[in-house]
């Protein structure tokens, strides 16, 4: 199979989800993704608390007694025979990332506009690959956030001292 591309803007870069970090000051979460081919290079996306927890549950493969929202979407796919083929982070404007979810049913591929948080939470459950365009990768914020992030994480660990 050829590498997936979007409007010949160069091959897409595949990402994997490393972890979800708490941003305790704003009650949001940070999804930390890294390039599959260069795992030391990261992309960070701020997501809502509930969406961040949905991503975290998928990473931990933890099962809830009742299906949560993204489990339900996966169950729709399983029941109706819809396959999620990929997620692509297509754009970033004012630090807001845009994602497109690709689904396939009866041999036809369709695309759905989504927030990256929903797209990632669903992709992890459906074992679908996550890609980013080269353009978005170049324009990503937080290329120097590694140091900042490690500070946030150590601060979270140290909250009991306060």
């Amino acid at each position: 199979m050829p590498e997936p591309t979007i409007e010949s803007a160069g091959p897409l870069l595949q990402l994997s989800v490393d972890r979800v970090v708490d941003d305790a000051t704003t009650d949001t979460r940070i999804a930390v993704l890294s390039r599959t081919d260069v795992p030391t290079e990261h992309l960070m996306i701020w997501v809502g608390a509930s969406e961040g927890e949905a991503i975290r549950r998928a990473l931990d493969v933890s099962v809830t007694p009742r299906p949560m929202s993204h489990d339900l979407i996966k169950n729709f796919g399983d029941h109706l025979g819809i396959t999620m083929t990929q997620v692509v982070l297509t754009d970033v404007k004012n630090n807001t990332y845009f994602a497109t979810v690709y689904v396939q049913s009866n041999g036809v591929t369709r695309t759905i506009d989504a927030r990256p948080s929903d797209a990632i939470a669903l992709a992890l459950r459906c074992h679908a690959p996550i890609y980013v365009t080269q353009d978005v990768w170049k324009r990503r914020s937080g290329q120097n956030l590694e140091a900042w992030l490690s500070k946030v994480e150590s601060k979270n660990f140290g909250t009991q001292e306060v």
Partner: protein, 151 residues
């Protein structure tokens, strides 16, 4: 037997730090409270007030996912109440077949409101729930408790 119910409103339950979605039947004779989480309450609130957020929220995405393949929500049914956990089923039409998917009532209601699909409740669920206790609880509430969520 099932009864069609409508979403009457949302309330905050300060004792349990949770939200309650109130369902009511057409004759206003039966009422069913369902305790739900904050994100689901925000989602139901947006649908009730017809607010379209700048980016699709999770249940908007859920609806778009079904729309993309021409699957239609026919109805949702609150089917069972077990130790204060409610169970629901979402009925879908896809191709020429009907499908039934297990769901939490909060997801089912959030999706039904966006799909303009009717919400039904099994009568056994309405009977099971202690209405006297609820009536008293509701009588103590003020109209402003039915107000908007600060989402």
């Amino acid at each position: 037997m099932i009864t069609q119910m409508h979403v009457k409103g949302l309330m905050f339950d300060p004792y349990n730090n949770a939200y309650i979605v109130i369902l009511r039947d057409e004759n206003q004779s039966e009422m069913l409270p369902i305790w739900i989480g904050k994100p689901e309450a925000s989602s139901i609130s947006l649908a009730l007030e017809n607010i379209a957020p700048p980016r699709p929220m999770t249940h908007d995405f859920m609806k778009a996912y079904l729309d993309a393949v021409n699957a239609k929500v026919i109805s949702v049914v609150i089917t069972d109440l077990n130790e204060n956990t409610y169970f629901a089923k979402i009925h879908l039409m896809y191709g020429d077949s009907e499908y039934t998917v297990d769901s939490r009532p909060s997801d089912a209601i959030a999706l039904a409101l966006r799909s303009e699909a009717p919400i039904f409740v099994n009568e056994s669920v309405i009977k099971k729930q202690s209405s006297e206790e609820l009536d008293q609880w509701l009588e103590n509430l003020k109209p402003e408790d039915f107000g908007k969520l600060d989402s």
